[in-house]
Amino acid sequence: MDGIHDLGGRQGFGAVGHSPAEPVFHQRWEAVARALLEIVAGAVEASGGEFRHAIERMEPGHYLTSGYYERWLTAAATLAVEHGLVTRSELEARAGGRFPLSGPVLAAPVVDAGIGVGTPRFAVGDRVRVREWHPPGHTRCPGYVRGRAGTVVRVDGLYSVPDIEAHGTARRHEPTYSVRFDAAELWRDGQRGVWVHVDLWDCYLERS
């Protein structure tokens, strides 16, 4: 989905801060939230795609104003409710207040994953173009490369297509590629001499 998480290329966010002596967890609740997500994801057998999509479905204002581990907490609670481990009213009663969860899944469940692609369609050096589409569900194709042309610079192994695994138990495996884009192809005034490499699944691409 073209959600709030897909921020590549957005402007106006300001400089990124850096603190070299940062603790792994700033407060204990962060460590607990992180562990709870692992527990919930294990209990409901959530794939990486389903977990990431649970974060992407957060209300945009909440997403931007919550830190990393609050997003993990929200994903953990959302998956726990959606899979019937707990109810929202139980969570709110225990928390003594509102417990914001992520929004509903907009994509239909995937029942038929289709036939996997065993052999890479593209080779190193091939020119490819990213399909221009706007899936309502999870995808690992950032919006800023859609419709843009690049060159395959590495062919990797077969991996489960996140767009499918996020929406059910069906799985399809496809080759992934590292595709190199000229920054000027992605951004009209892109910096000279800058290349952006993006890992993309076979079904995201067409021959250019």
């Binding site: 998480h5 897909d6 921020l7 590549g8 290329g9 402007q11 966010f13 300001g14 400089a15 990124v16 801060g17 850096h18 603190s19 940062e22 603790p23 792994v24 967890f25 407060q27 609740w29 460590a31 607990v32 939230a33 992180r34 562990a35 709870l36 692992e38 527990i39 919930v40 990431r52 974060i55 931007l64 830190g67 990393y68 609050e70 907490l73 609670a77 726990a80 481990l85 707990v86 139980e90 969570l91 709110e92 225990r94 928390a95 003594g96 207040g97 417990f99 690992r140 950032p142 800023y144 990797d156 192994g157 991996y159 920054a183 992605l186 951004w187 892109g190 910096q191 800058v194 952006v196």
Partner: protein, 140 residues
């Protein structure tokens, strides 16, 4: 509140939500005893950038290892005993006088936990992905 009563630190709403989910999952016997403490200890003391530093230092002094590391990152890193979640498919790139690599996840916060630990705040900051994908020479 009595005049001599202590003032415990106020519990923030997010802490209350974490405690609520932890309590409910614990009641359902889904939280193995000691799991939270153990996983926290591992990420605080065993899994971190010190592991990646060992990999890089080995590559500095062992040209054959450096070659393997650049060709087959996951296997070469496993030679030093490092692997696991978010490190299953590692690709290693090398900076040169002419090429500077910047790694960023513009969709979430993917990070190579086995060699660098959990991502630091700046990497997870929503400002990192937007700027670095567009202007890596000036962002940050």
């Amino acid at each position: 509140m009595s005049a001599e009563g202590h003032h415990p630190a106020p519990v923030s709403p997010v802490e209350q939500r974490v405690a609520a989910l932890e309590a409910l999952l614990t009641e359902r016997r889904l939280v193995p005893e000691g799991f939270i403490e153990e996983i926290t200890r591992r990420y605080e003391s065993e899994i971190g950038p010190m592991n990646g530093a060992k990999v890089v230092a080995r590559a500095w002094v062992d040209p054959e290892y450096r070659r393997r590391l650049l060709a087959h990152g996951t296997a070469a890193i496993a030679e030093l005993g490092f692997g696991g979640p978010e490190g299953e498919h590692m690709v290693v790139v090398e900076n040169t006088p002419a090429i500077h690599n910047v790694i960023v996840c513009t969709l979430c916060s993917c990070y190579p936990w086995p060699v660098l630990g959990l991502p630091p705040a700046w990497y997870k900051d929503p400002r990192t992905g937007p700027g670095w994908s567009a202007s890596p020479n000036v962002a940050g």
